[in-house]
């Protein structure tokens, strides 16, 4: 039982749009981060689906790299959010507006 590739694409696009929506609407930095991860995983869905579709492994390989980089990104992001909280006592991305420091 195999599923046509365009369904995977539709799925991934749905996931991507959900993530994008979260990015645009959420004000909590952590939720923002999760939404971005969602978008990255949408890309992974695409890559793996297309890897089967085209019958070469490039996509799967790249998906691995994407995961690794996403993890590293999360690590850095959480660090930044932590210092953000220490400085502003909040993780709301709209709070810090003290750019004229």
């Amino acid at each position: 039982m195999t599923v046509d590739v365009q369904y995977y694409v539709l799925l991934s696009m749905a996931v991507f749009c959900i993530g994008l929506f979260g990015v645009l609407t959420r004000r909590n930095a952590l939720l923002f981060l999760m939404s971005v991860e969602l978008m990255l995983n949408a890309a992974n869905i695409n890559l793996i689906a297309f890897a089967f579709y085209h019958g070469n492994l490039t996509g799967q390989l790249f998906a691995l790299f994407t995961m690794a980089l996403a993890a590293a990104e999360v690590a850095v992001g959480l660090g930044i959010i932590l210092v953000l909280y220490r400085n502003f006592r909040d993780v709301d991305v709209t709070v810090p507006t003290t750019m004229r420091w």
């Binding site: 694409v9 981060l33 210092v83 004229r100």
Partner: protein
């Protein structure tokens, strides 16, 4: 020279040297943690950067990647995942130069900072990523290099942990960066879906096979443009730039606005010339993607310059002006549809090269001002020339050069860009608008650049300042950048040759 005797993978040496330097710094910090021996750390960084610069220049001189008979031609590594040609070497050189300048300046700027080794190793890691980006010839390596550049940059921007501005800047930079990299990856996945490959040449080869997936390809290209726009701080992903550059420590701002921008552009140049040759792509997706760049270029430069003209804060002004310059360079991509596209791209590359000096120097001067603690608005800078004439003379050089006034380097590069754009406009009249926008914006930029010079040299200080320190490192970096900016026009001959050659190799 003995380049051919070296193993192939050593063609990446400029990037590898940087990576090794980063590891050495890590090892040093592991051996005695929390060391604040600034001289050793920044010294190591500078040595590494200069070594990478030397190797890159040597390769370029030896003709690695140059097309022709008497040299070694383009070097493919890992089955075309990386390619070392003149374009790569050119930008490796730019990155190495900026890294060295920034490292020298940081020696004083981060005098009493807790995380010395971390700072320098992050700088070098980011530089490694940029060098890799210059050589990456596949969307996989491109994305990895992109992230290798971005992740340390996020940390660098926010490295002043207890400084609210720095942290806020870091947050905004990170959020936009994460978003844009997600969009970039999604674009990559779509391109892969359409062509079934991620290596640039084979993407170009398989464009025809896209068939009914052409729509996906178009969307993917659009998303790739988005990802690149973030790195180069151009519309529509520009709005992080002012915040990040203003909040970040000045050397980091210099690093990002010069080297990171250049890296983003080399990525754009390579991807859009190699992977998406115009005719084939247009045949598949039905639109000529240079139009996107024509519009982006004009919008970016106009927006950047007008925003910069309204700033009161010097660092912020420089940030917006760097957006404007990104717009100038985008013309290099916009003109690719014309026969003289390679010339325009070469001019854009030269502008990035010169920009690497003048913009870095300008930000480093701001760093010097922060080091002095004189404040950040134009008024705060009033009359600095009476106390520090040399540094202020250097800053005047940077400002006039950025504004494109002779006899400084910025004039030369803008001149080339303008001439070639006019030349190309004969084919594609839309470029006439771009050229006009270039001239008008340069004139406008003169207003706020000269405003700073006026503040430095002509105005009287608002309040009494006590004597200003003369930090060796910062001064050395600034003066070096200024000297190069002032005399580089004389050496334009070889630089233009290299740049045009490099552009020609990718444009083909």
């Amino acid at each position: 020279m003995a380049v051919v005797d070296l193993p192939q993978w050593l063609a990446l040496a400029p990037a590898l040297i940087l990576a090794v330097t980063a590891l050495v710094l890590f090892a040093f910090d592991s051996i005695n943690p929390g060391s604040t021996n600034r001289t050793v750390l920044s010294g190591t960084t500078v040595i590494g950067a200069l070594a990478s610069l030397a190797v890159a220049v040597w390769y370029a001189a030896a003709g690695v990647g140059a097309t022709g008979i008497e040299n070694y031609g383009v070097i493919d590594i890992m089955g075309g995942q990386f390619v070392v040609d003149q374009l790569a070497l050119f930008f490796m050189i730019v990155v190495a130069i900026v890294t060295a300048l920034v490292a020298v300046a940081s020696h004083d700027y981060l005098r009493d900072h807790a995380y010395q080794a971390e700072y320098y190793s992050l700088i070098v890691l980011a530089a490694t990523g940029m060098s890799m980006m210059a050589a990456s010839n596949s969307l996989v390596t491109a994305f990895i290099a992109l992230e290798l550049t971005s992740l340390p940059s996020y940390a660098l921007v926010a490295i002043l942990k207890d400084n609210r501005g720095s942290v806020e800047a870091g947050l905004k930079y990170f959020l936009i960066g994460a978003l844009s990299s997600a969009i970039f990856v999604y674009g990559v996945s779509l391109v892969y879906g359409a062509t079934g490959s991620l290596q640039l040449e084979s993407i170009a080869a398989n464009l025809g096979a896209a068939g009914e997936l052409g729509g996906l390809l178009g969307l993917g290209i659009l998303m790739l443009i988005g990802g690149v726009a973030f790195k180069t701080a151009s519309v529509p992903f520009h709005f992080w730039a002012p915040e990040a550059y203003e909040g970040a420590p000045a050397p980091v701002s210099a690093f990002l606005s010069s080297a990171s921008k250049a890296a983003g552009f080399v990525l754009a140049f390579r991807v859009f010339t190699t992977a998406f040759p115009l005719e084939a792509t247009t045949a598949v997706i039905g639109v000529d993607w240079t139009w996107a760049f024509v519009i982006l270029a004009i919008v970016t430069m106009t927006l950047g310059n007008f925003a910069a003209a309204t700033q009161e804060n010097v660092k912020r002004m420089l940030a917006y002006s760097s957006i404007g310059h990104a717009g100038y360079v985008l013309i290099g991509l916009a003109a690719l549809s014309t026969p003289s596209g390679d010339l325009v791209m070469g001019a854009a590359m030269i502008h990035l090269f010169v920009y690497g000096f003048m913009n870095t120097g300008a930000f480093l001067f701001v760093g010097l001002a922060e080091h002095w603690g004189v404040g950040r608005t134009f008024e705060d800078y009033n009359g600095l020339a009476t106390q520090a004439p040399v540094a202020c003379a250097a800053m005047a050089v940077f400002m006039f050069s950025l504004a494109g006034i002779p006899p400084f380097g910025g004039f030369g590069s803008k001149y080339l860009l303008f001439i070639h754009t006019i030349e190309a406009a004969a084919e594609n009249t839309a470029l006439l608008a771009a050229a006009a926008a270039l001239v008008i914006n340069s004139t406008l930029s003169l207003y706020y650049y000269s405003r700073l010079v006026k503040a430095l040299w002509i105005e009287e200080p608002l309040r009494e300042r006590d004597a200003l320190a003369k930090p060796t490192g910062l001064y050395a970096a600034i003066v070096a950048a200024a000297v190069v900016t002032a005399v580089i026009l004389a050496a334009f001959g070889p630089i233009t040759d290299v740049a045009t050659e490099a552009a020609a190799t990718v444009v083909g």
